[in-house]
């Protein structure tokens, strides 16, 4: 029953989300792209390369979703590395450190993988895909910190999990945690997960 409610909520949210993302995309397109017209003049064309994770003046759901997608892909690579090597190899630990911005969050992930290892990686798809995370509500956003409620779809990773409502807090990546440049998003998790049943929603992690 609980799963059904969540599934319904997920579907409803996804419909809204897709619409919102589409609207945002249209809005951005309208603001940035003009109607093609005849080109006149002899100035050489200029090109501007925009880093996909460059922090925009206004952080919106589209941007946060882009960052989360990048983090999901990177995390998926680590999951596959761990499963292929059947262990938490040092390379995976180092890559996790680049995605999780505090040692506490990193330890939670190290413990998660060790728990998985002890269970023989029970529940994983073979091969696992990437988890997919979408913003449900941005609680706080600045160029230094983002805190959002998200919908995280585990169906490509897990045989039993589907969509969970979770919260993520992101802070700018301390590059000393990522000497190999594994995390290209420029952001790292400083909080991820959800409160235990019956507990209140986590407080705004950008103000903690």
């Amino acid at each position: 029953m609980h799963g059904a409610v969540r599934a319904a909520r997920w579907r409803a949210a996804m419909v809204g989300l897709v619409s919102a993302v589409a609207a945002a995309a249209c809005s951005e397109g309208g603001a940035q792209v003009g109607v093609p017209s005849a080109t006149v003049g002899t100035e050489p064309p200029t090109t501007t390369t925009t880093h996909p994770y460059a922090v925009p003046p206004v952080i919106d759901a589209t941007y946060v979703n882009r960052v989360l997608e990048g983090l999901d892909k990177a995390y998926g690579d680590i999951v596959r590395l761990v499963l292929n090597s059947r262990g938490l190899v040092p390379q995976a630990s180092a890559q996790l450190r680049s995605l999780f911005g505090t040692d506490r969050e990193l330890q939670l992930e190290l413990d998660r993988f060790q728990e998985d290892m002890r269970s023989g990686f029970r529940g994983y798809r073979n091969p696992p895909g990437n988890q997919r995370t979408f913003v449900d509500h941005i609680v706080a956003a600045s160029s230094e910190c983002i805190f959002a409620r998200v919908l995280r779809d585990y169906s490509a990773v897990s045989q039993v999990l589907a969509v969970e409502t979770e919260w993520v807090a992101l802070s700018r990546l301390d590059i000393s945690r990522d000497p190999t440049g594994f995390n290209t998003t420029g952001w790292a998790y400083t909080y991820h997960g959800f409160p235990p049943p019956g507990f209140p929603d986590p407080p705004n992690q950008c103000h903690v």
Binding site: G87, L108, Q114, R118, S158, L161, R177, F199
Partner: protein, 275 residues
């Protein structure tokens, strides 16, 4: 004194984590954080206590909850990868509650994995600065010098027959206890071994937790399909726990090996003889 404080802290933390959920109006959320494991179990950290599906298992720092719940479940040590202040990872001993009777007295990263020694990939965590040599270090040094029993495999009567089960006798022991005096008190290492058999024909079996015995009671058997000669290799994978006074932990895996080279497997054919 420090230990007492830790225990009091653990008791308070455990009490807090087990308080009725309805009292959660207190702003406990920053220290209450959950996520799902791939198999659906929910892992939560509530006030520093790790819960799996609502059951307190261990502390986030890896300390045992045994002190706070002496009549509770068994607590066993395990190898735990942790992050050091400089960001590197190392292996220390964690403790967790287990209710499953079949769980051995030490948990390993990947139970029964043929090559599962995480010490090959991560260094043991260093001693705390300013402390003398630790009980753990003493235990590790002894462990690496102990002469562990090695299997002496035999398959009676010295050759096999295709289509008939070959009964492997391991002629070893699956437990080994080592004690020795140390400057910090008596060291006691209790080791448990499981057998893995490479039958030489491409087939492997194990882990076998019991000694291999001859026909008819033996449980380590193999059915050779083709006649030939095979090298049978029996590897015993040892895991262990150590204890010196109040200190204890888990030790990395060691292996001993025995083999039967050129084990002959014959084929017997029935023939009709005219009289």
């Amino acid at each position: 004194m420090t230990t007492l404080l830790r225990r009091v802290t653990l008791l308070l933390a455990l009490a807090g984590s087990l308080a009725p959920i309805a009292t959660a109006a207190l702003d406990l959320a920053p220290s209450a954080q959950c996520f799902r494991l791939a198999d659906g179990r929910m892992r939560c950290v509530i006030n520093g206590i790790v819960h799996i599906d609502g059951i307190p298992i261990e502390t986030l720092s890896g300390e045992s909850l045994a002190a706070s719940e002496p009549s509770g479940p068994r607590h066993v040590p395990y190898e735990r990868i942790v992050t050091q202040p400089d960001g590197s990872q190392c292996v220390t001993t964690g403790w967790r509650a287990v209710t499953d009777e079949s769980v051995p007295d030490a948990l390993y990263q990947i139970p029964d994995r043929e090559i599962g020694n995480i010490f090959a990939q991560y260094e043991p965590c260093p001693e705390e600065p300013g402390t003398a040599i630790s009980p753990r270090t003493i235990a590790i040094r002894h462990w690496e010098t102990i002469a562990l029993p090695a299997p002496k495999p035999h398959i009676a009567p010295g050759w096999g027959i295709t289509g008939k089960l070959a009964y492997l006798e391991t002629n070893g022991t699956t437990t080994h206890t080592h004690t020795s005096p140390t400057p910090l008190g008596e060291l006691r290492i209790e080791a448990t071994g499981v057998y893995h058999v490479d039958w030489g024909d491409g087939e492997k079996s194990g882990p076998h937790r019991r000694e291999g015995a001859p026909w008819p009671n033996g449980t380590i058997t193999h059915d050779y399909i083709w006649a030939g000669t095979y090298d049978v290799v029996v590897t015993q994978q040892w895991t262990a726990t150590w204890r010196i006074g109040p200190h204890s932990g888990v030790l990395h895996e060691l292996r001993t090996t025995g083999r039967i080279d050129d084990f002959e497997v014959r084929q017997i054919q029935a023939v009709i003889v005219a009289r």
